[in-house]
Amino acid sequence: MTAQAVVDYLAAQRRLEPELPAPDLPWLMELRDGGVERLRDAGFPSLRDEDWRYTNVQSLLKEPFEMGPIGQCDVDAAFVSSTTIPSLECYRVVVVNGIPIPHLSDVTLVPDGIRVSSLADLLVSDPGRLEPYLGKSLVPDPHGFTAMNSAFLGNGLVVEIAPGQVFDKPLEIVFVASAATESTMAQPRNLVVAGKGSRLQVLARYVAIGAQRTLTNVVTEVIVDADAHLTLYQLQEESKNSFHIGGLFAKLGRGSRFDAFAITLAGGLVRNDLRVDLDGAGAEVNLRGLYLARGRQHIDNHTQIFHNEPDCISHEHYKGVLDDRARAVFHGRIVVQPDAQKTVSEQSNQNLLLSRDAEIDTKPQLEIYADDVKCAHGATVGQLDKEALFYLRSRGIAEEAAKRLLIKGFASDVLLAVSPDSLREHLLTRVETMLTD
């Protein structure tokens, strides 16, 4: 089944290739060809791959997905406004099936210091701006899905923040999965470049229209230049029939800071690969994750942090709440390279299982090759605290409400660092309503 899927997708890629933007650009051809070769050689991952031991993608591969039609958009402004977060002031860009849609976006309102472009346009008009970055953070492609994204590389969103520019108002990117026909796939390739000393918060939301079977196979590359501070909220709100394979690859310069939140509230099968390379001395990364899953949802967070230079800090804190037959995977790998002296690294993964049939496979992993480091990691799996439940009930709070309160309390500390307030409140409310439904 896996082999057939590889053949099918490679054939689809060959058909589509002439239509992809800038087909003759040598470095881009190399990038796409690299993806094709990697997919052909390695295929799609299976349970035999150590990094995919607990995540079975057979249901994804059994019927092929097709790329959505280029240049067509069946999403209207009414849908976009129906998904907005109340009272959140932000610049908004809408991307439908991987294609940025100008008439649904506030691009004209975005201030001069932030350049938001469609990748397809930029590949044609000014590819030199992309060449130093595109594909550089994932050589080689770690698995068949990222390889496929590289092979189909054609569109997505590019965000460039000019050096020294500081913004308080976040940039919101709404990625809409819209299936006009059954089994539509989108493969956006995004690039965020935060120039020296710049500062911006980006909110990437993944939503779906309806509950069709869709695949979003997205790769986002992030470059945080020296002393810049980038915050990226990734919010998964697609449908229970959505497959979501997300790759986030970030490179951090000297003295920079990257805060990334992976908040998964929906999706049938979600796999998030996150790799951060601390490439400059004194860089700091803070990863926060929250996953709430019910029914037969499957959520896999696979993170890697590479301490390549001295004096860097990494904090990673993921929490999950699983009910029914939901299943989650956490794999957090931290590598401290020989040169990375004075590293401070802290990692935790805490899970709450609300049902006997829910399952979590958690694997914190530390690899230290330097001798002067401070590292700690740990994982916990537990049930609702019976004592706490009785305490709340003895104060007159009904059992169901008390359970919700405890779950919200468990999840909320991941969200405490979220700003602005309106976004944090929205997320807390989403968590609570999800538990109430």
């Binding site: 605290d385 019976k386 004592e387 706490a388 009785f390 305490y391 709340l392 009930r393 003895s394 104060r395 007159g396 709070i397 009904a398 059992e399 409400a401 008390a402 309160l405 405890l406 919200k408 309390g409 468990f410 999840a411 909320s412 500390d413």
Partner: protein, 257 residues
């Protein structure tokens, strides 16, 4: 207000309470004293509805209700309050949130509207003073990182906010230094009014120097072995529990107030 009749309770197949009879009238303060393992806390927990206790025989009537048929939250809404011996830490839930939910649960049950924010805050400030707690306590997670004394004061603060009809204080004095004990006691004394009944469960007579009970009962090996007025507590202080336990062993002295 509360009538316990021939109550027998087992924990994990082991008899703990072996036939308890107790009547508490509206407005009365009763103290239950007894050595460790006599069943004091079991009685407090059974009354509040904690899981893990098997009632083998007997009944408990609270107002018009068969108390044992009510869920813990129903008991609370009917005005029964348990101050925990070991208050539970709840990370991620702030004190103020808990107390607001608790107060509004009571009000809703009584058919009253929820307190508006201003009235609520006014009430909170007034009750905080009662137990000498700072306002910052409100915004900390419930009991999380509190010292032993702070936890106990927080229990009394909650009790003052909820204004129960029957308050059960399970070893609220344990682990308190004398200053904290005085604060807690004055908080309880301020609550002593009208029809409100209070059941104090304690190992030491010390608490009763500050909160004077109307009745004192001595529990030993799951049975009340002696009842009396506040002077009984003093006797116990002088003679210890030994002489009473001998009475319990011989099966004598079953008593009720």
């Amino acid at each position: 207000m509360l009538s316990i009749s021939d109550l027998m309770v087992e924990v994990g197949g082991k008899p703990i309470l072996k036939g308890i009879n107790l009547n508490i009238a509206a407005g009365e303060v009763h103290a239950i004293m007894g050595p460790n393992g006599s069943g004091k806390s079991t009685l407090a927990n059974v009354l509040a509805g904690r899981e893990g206790y098997d009632v083998m025989r007997g009944s408990v009537t609270y107002g018009d209700h068969d108390l044992l048929a009510l869920t813990p939250e129903e008991r609370a809404r009917e005005g029964l309050f348990l101050a925990f011996q070991y208050p539970v830490e709840i990370p991620g839930v702030t004190n103020v949130y808990l107390i607001k939910e608790a107060v509004n649960a009571q009000r809703k049950h009584r058919g009253e509207s929820e307190l508006d924010a201003i009235d609520f805050l006014k009430l909170v400030r007034q009750k905080l003073q009662l137990v000498e707690m700072k306002e910052e306590f409100l915004h900390r997670p419930v009991n999380h990182g509190f010292s032993g004394g702070e936890k106990k004061r927080n229990e009394i603060f909650q009790m003052a906010m909820i204004e129960p009809r029957l308050a059960i204080l399970d070893e609220t004095d344990s682990g308190l230094d004398i200053d904290a004990l005085k604060v807690v006691a004055s908080g309880v004394n301020a609550m002593r009014q009208g029809d409100r009944s209070i059941l104090l469960v304690t190992h030491y007579q010390r608490l009763l120097d500050y909160i004077e009970p109307d009745h004192v009962h001595v529990l030993a090996d799951g049975r009340f072995v002696k009842s009396g007025d506040k002077h009984l507590a003093r006797e116990l202080e002088e003679h210890g529990y030994g002489w009473l336990e001998e009475q319990a062993d011989s099966g004598a002295g079953q008593s009720a107030a």
